[in-house]
Symmetry: C2
Amino acid sequence: MDTRTLCLAILQKGAASGYEIKKKLEEMPYRIFQEVGFGSIYPALNRLLEAGHVTVQAQAQRKRPDKKVYAITANGRQELEGSLLHPPAQDRFRSDFLFVLFHSELLAHEELADLFDTRITELKSTIDQMHACDLSGASPGARFVHGYGLTYYENALDYLCTHREWLLDETEARRQTTSATWCPEVSSTVPGGDR
Amino acid sequence: MDTRTLCLAILQKGAASGYEIKKKLEEMPYRIFQEVGFGSIYPALNRLLEAGHVTVQAQAQRKRPDKKVYAITANGRQELEGSLLHPPAQDRFRSDFLFVLFHSELLAHEELADLFDTRITELKSTIDQMHACDLSGASPGARFVHGYGLTYYENALDYLCTHREWLLDETEARRQTTSATWCPEVSSTVPGGDR
DNA sequence: CTTGACATGTAACCAGTTACATGATTCT
DNA sequence: AGAATCATGTAACTGGTTACATGTCAAG
């Protein structure tokens, strides 16, 4: 989702400044969608302003720089609802982690094991944070998306744990049988081999 | 992963033309990572050529336009291995579908139901295709990644099926309780207070 | 006779990231 | 004293998408 729509979505729940929008995009539940930098947010807000989708109000603050509080307009709400209506684009999943594992035979055994271990630790911490997350008062949509993300992380963790040894062993085996002999793989935990 | 690295990864498994690279990126197992257009591939190959990561050889064909077959060099292999070594960037998951469901209260009941149904159908078809996919001869890494993707899709399908009714009902319930008290304009709800 | 596969490329456009630029205040 | 937080923005760069441009051949 582009930054403009993301900003509209947040402003729809209440007026906010660019700085505050960035903070909200960093924490749950918006974190699931995307993190964007100031370099995207401020220009996006200016374009929304030009288009009449939002209004600004400068807020002088004692002992703080001025704040520009943006609020969504009826026009902006219509725009947001419009973008929800047309059929959503395909999901895109980008994982450099998987890309590296895909080429497991180009890495040393230890590097592979380390990769797994750090990812498993990260996943556990992410899952803990998501469990700790307060959802009282959250909309049904927010809860649904949170649950989707949580089950994704939990299943990913499970997959990594149950297939770690398999990949490590198979990669080692493949490395040794470079071109000489063909080794018949016999395993009950071959990914995709359960049909 | 950027297009150049993606091209190197494919060429590492064998020489290919730009057209063939695109086809490989469209099918399993590369499909999991990313799909890229010709507009990305041809410039990427030229940059790899300039950098000495690949070589070209024009191949005249009977009754076909000439083909430019690219092959990876020792230099290019080193480059690829190098990019696998430094710690992978964070996974990014972008889903307009989830973004829409997040705002379920802005959509009509029927639109929501339709969204679910089309997505469920799509997922089922994707899963079938992945099950039908031939993995004999695939590297351990490729199998691992394929399995990761497959379990993701299966779990996503399961989550959608088991939570469809919940979201539909909860959204309906929320709509009825908030419609009366909903306050549209800017008003006093400025987050972050004032001073 | 038209669609689709084969085959390569460029140019304009759009979006996002990173680095830069500024500056007060509060916490450790 | 130095780091973190609050607060806003621009400019350069990078990368990807889309549209354009060209052409053959096979199959329906």
